[in-house]
C-alpha cells in the first residue's frame, strides 16, 4: 500500500512539473530537480532525505512571470510536502525562492523571497510548525536550467524545498 501511494505521488509530481497552461514547452526541458529520481525504485530513498522528499512529495513548485501565486497544481505538491513533513517530524527545511533572468537583480531578490514565503505560508497553513521552515532567496542568480528562452525561464521561476539538518 505504501508503495502504491509513493508511485501515485511520483506521477502527480511529474504531472505538476509539466502541465502548466502558460508553459506548454516544458515537456522537453532539462529539469533541475532531477528526473533521475524516477529511475530509482520507489521506497529506496534514505528516510527524510532530499531524494525522499522529491520522490514522495515533490520538492519544487513553479510560478508565472513576476508572480508568487500558488497555482492549483503547486498547492497539490505543497499539500504532499506538508504531509511528508508531518511524517518526518525531525526534519527542518529551507524554502529557496528563485526567479527567471528577465528582471533586475535586486527586484528579483525580493521576488524570490516573496515566492519562498508563499510556500512557507502555505505549509504553515497545512499545519507544519513555522520554526521548521526557513526561507532564502537567490533571485535570478541560481537558475535551475541553462538557457535564455521561455522554456528555461519557466523552469527557473520556482521555489525549492530543501531538507536541512534534522531537528536536534
Amino acid at each position: 500500500m505504501r508503495v502504491l501511494v509513493v508511485i501515485a505521488c511520483l506521477l502527480l509530481v511529474a504531472g505538476c512539473a509539466r502541465t502548466s497552461p502558460e508553459d506548454p514547452a516544458l515537456t522537453g526541458g532539462i529539469s533541475a530537480q532531477g528526473l533521475g529520481a524516477g529511475g530509482a525504485a520507489a521506497g529506496t530513498f534514505a528516510p527524510g532525505s532530499q531524494a525522499a522528499l522529491q520522490a514522495e512529495a515533490g520538492d519544487t513548485v513553479f510560478f508565472a512571470f513576476d508572480s508568487s501565486v500558488l497555482r492549483p497544481e503547486s498547492q497539490a505538491v505543497l499539500r504532499q510536502q506538508a504531509a511528508w513533513l508531518q511524517r518526518n517530524p525531525g526534519i527542518r527545511v529551507t524554502v529557496e525562492g528563485h526567479t527567471d533572468e528577465r528582471g533586475t537583480r535586486e527586484y528579483n531578490l525580493a521576488l524570490g523571497e516573496r515566492r519562498a514565503n508563499a510556500v512557507r505560508s502555505f505549509l504553515i497553513a497545512q499545519g507544519v510548525a513555522a520554526d521548521r521552515i526557513r526561507t532564502v532567496s537567490f533571485g535570478k542568480d541560481r537558475p535551475a536550467v541553462l538557457g535564455s528562452n521561455e522554456q528555461a525561464w519557466a523552469q527557473n521561476r520556482r521555489a525549492v524545498t530543501v531538507v536541512a539538518a534534522p531537528v536536534s
Partner: protein, 439 residues
C-alpha cells in the same frame, strides 16, 4: 590659483601649478550635444624619465591618450605623426606650426624626473594649438609606482579644462566577477581602475556575492553576502580586508547604498514576503524603517544632498520608480512610461536618475529627471542591468547579457546616449559601481 585642492594627498601630491597664462578659451568641448566631433589632441611622450622605468614618459602619455580616446570627446593623434620631439617640446616649448600641420587642436607635453630612488616629479602642460597659448600647467610628485594614477590625474585635468566638467579617470570600478555555469556560478568581488588596470579580486568565491557599492570615500564597499547562508549586507575594505557582516537582522537584508555623508546605509529588508526600505545608521547601528506594506520596495539611491531617495516599488502593481522625501516620508511615483522600471541610481550631479526599463522583450538603460521629466532610453538589449553613474554624472556603467553567447560584460555609455564601449574584464562581469574621484 587653486590647483592643489583635489590633488592634496599624502602619496601623490601636486606641488603646484606651473606658470601659465590662461588664454581666452576657444578650446572647448560642450558635452551636452549628442554628437560631438572628437577634439584632435596630440599627447607627446613625456620627456625625461627615471632609471628604474626608462619608458615611463611614453607609458604616461599612452594612458592619457587612451583615457581621452575612451571618453569619446577626444581623438588622440597617432604619435608617429608628431614632428617636434618630446625633448625639444619639453625644453623649448611648442613649435605650434608643427602641431597645426598635423591638425592637432590641443597639445599635451610633459617631463618626468627622479626625485629619489622611489619618487618622481611629473609636470605637464596643456596647450591650445590654434591660439598658440598654454591652458594648464601642473607638477606632481608621486611614488614611481603610482605612475598610472598620475596619468589619470593629468587626464582629469585635461578633460576638466576643455569640457568644463570634472573628470572621472582617477577612479575605480568594483564589480562582481563571474565564472562557471549559470546554475553553479562562482561570483567574486573584484576591483580595478576605470581603464581595467590593476585588476584584483577581493573575495575568494566560496560564497555568492552581489551588488557592491562604494562608500563616498571610495575605501569601503557595501555588498550582499551569502556567507552565512542567509543573504545579508556586509562591508569590506577596498583593499579586500575586513570582510564583515553589517549585523544580524530579522530577515534578509540587501540592496545597500551609502548616504552621501557615508554615515548611513539605505537598504531593503525582506521578511514574510514583503520587502521594505530601512535606514541603517553606521554609528549607532540602529535600523529605522522607511516604508511598510505588502509589496516590494528596493534599490534605494540617495540624492546628492542626502535628502531624498529614489527607489523601486511594485506598490502600484508593477515595478515603478518613486522618490521619497526623507524629511516627510512622502513618496511620489516618477515613472509613467511603458513597461517595468527598476534599479534606479541618482546622478552625483543631481540632475538625472538612471534606471532599467523592461518592455517588449527588451531591456533598456534609461535616464529621466528626478521629477520624472525628460525620459530617454539610451540602450536596448536582451538584458541590461545595474546602471551606475561615473562621479561626474556624464557616463553610466552597466552590465549587459548577450543572449547568444551567454556572456555578461560591463559597458559604459555617455548620458547623451553615444559612445557605448565595453569595459574589458578577465571573466564575465556584473553589478558594477563607480568610485568617487580618488583623493
Amino acid at each position: 590659483m587653486r590647483t592643489t585642492r583635489r590633488q592634496a594627498m599624502t602619496s601623490l601630491a601636486a606641488v603646484g601649478a606651473l606658470a601659465s597664462a590662461p588664454a581666452a578659451g576657444q578650446l572647448t568641448v560642450t558635452i551636452d550635444r549628442g554628437t560631438v566631433r572628437p577634439l584632435p589632441i596630440a599627447v607627446s611622450p613625456f620627456a625625461g624619465g627615471v632609471a628604474a622605468q626608462p619608458e615611463i614618459g611614453l607609458q604616461i602619455a599612452e594612458v592619457i591618450g587612451a583615457n581621452l580616446d575612451r571618453s569619446g570627446l577626444f581623438r588622440t593623434i597617432d604619435r608617429s605623426a608628431y614632428i617636434q620631439t618630446p625633448d625639444d617640446l619639453a625644453d623649448q616649448g611648442p613649435r605650434f606650426a608643427d602641431w597645426r600641420q598635423i591638425n592637432a587642436e590641443a597639445l599635451v607635453s610633459g617631463r618626468v624626473s627622479a626625485v629619489d630612488a622611489t619618487n618622481m616629479a611629473v609636470e605637464f602642460r596643456l596647450f591650445d594649438v590654434l591660439t598658440a597659448s598654454e591652458r594648464r600647467g601642473l607638477r606632481y610628485t608621486a611614488p614611481i609606482d603610482d605612475w598610472r594614477r598620475v596619468a589619470h590625474k593629468i587626464s582629469d585635468e585635461i578633460y576638466s579644462r576643455i569640457t568644463g566638467e570634472s573628470g572621472y579617470f582617477d577612479t575605480r570600478i568594483v564589480y562582481v566577477s563571474e565564472t562557471g555555469l549559470a546554475t553553479q556560478r562562482v561570483k567574486r568581488l573584484a576591483i580595478m581602475d576605470q581603464d581595467g588596470a590593476n585588476h584584483r579580486f577581493l573575495t575568494r568565491g566560496d560564497s555568492l556575492v552581489m551588488t557592491p557599492r562604494f562608500a563616498p570615500d571610495g575605501e569601503t564597499i557595501a555588498f550582499l553576502s551569502f556567507r552565512t547562508g542567509e543573504p545579508q549586507v556586509a562591508l569590506i575594505d577596498a583593499s579586500g580586508a575586513n570582510d564583515r557582516l553589517l549585523g544580524r537582522f530579522d530577515g534578509m537584508t540587501f540592496a545597500p547604498r551609502f548616504s552621501p555623508d557615508g554615515q548611513r546605509l539605505a537598504m531593503s529588508l525582506a521578511a514574510g514576503g514583503s520587502t521594505s526600505l530601512f535606514m541603517y545608521d553606521l554609528r549607532t547601528q540602529e535600523m529605522t524603517r522607511l516604508t511598510s506594506g505588502p509589496h516590494i520596495d528596493t534599490s534605494p539611491s540617495f540624492s546628492p544632498d542626502g535628502g531624498r531617495l529614489v527607489f523601486n516599488s511594485d506598490r502600484a502593481g508593477s515595478p515603478q520608480l518613486y522618490v521619497m522625501d526623507l524629511g516627510s516620508g512622502r513618496a511620489e511615483r516618477i515613472s509613467f512610461g511603458g513597461g517595468r522600471y527598476s534599479t534606479p541610481a541618482w546622478s552625483p550631479r543631481g540632475d538625472l536618475v538612471t534606471f532599467v526599463n523592461q518592455q517588449g522583450g527588451s531591456f533598456h538603460v534609461g535616464l529621466m529627471r528626478p521629477d520624472g521629466g525628460d525620459e530617454r532610453l539610451i540602450t536596448r538589449s536582451y538584458l541590461d542591468d545595474g546602471p551606475r553613474f561615473a562621479p561626474n554624472g556624464r557616463v553610466v556603467v552597466f552590465e549587459r547579457h548577450d543572449r547568444a553567447s551567454g556572456r555578461m560584460r560591463l559597458f559604459t555609455i555617455d548620458v547623451t546616449g553615444f559612445n557605448l564601449r565595453e569595459v574589458a574584464t578577465p571573466l564575465d562581469a556584473t553589478d558594477p559601481d563607480w568610485s568617487p574621484l580618488r583623493r
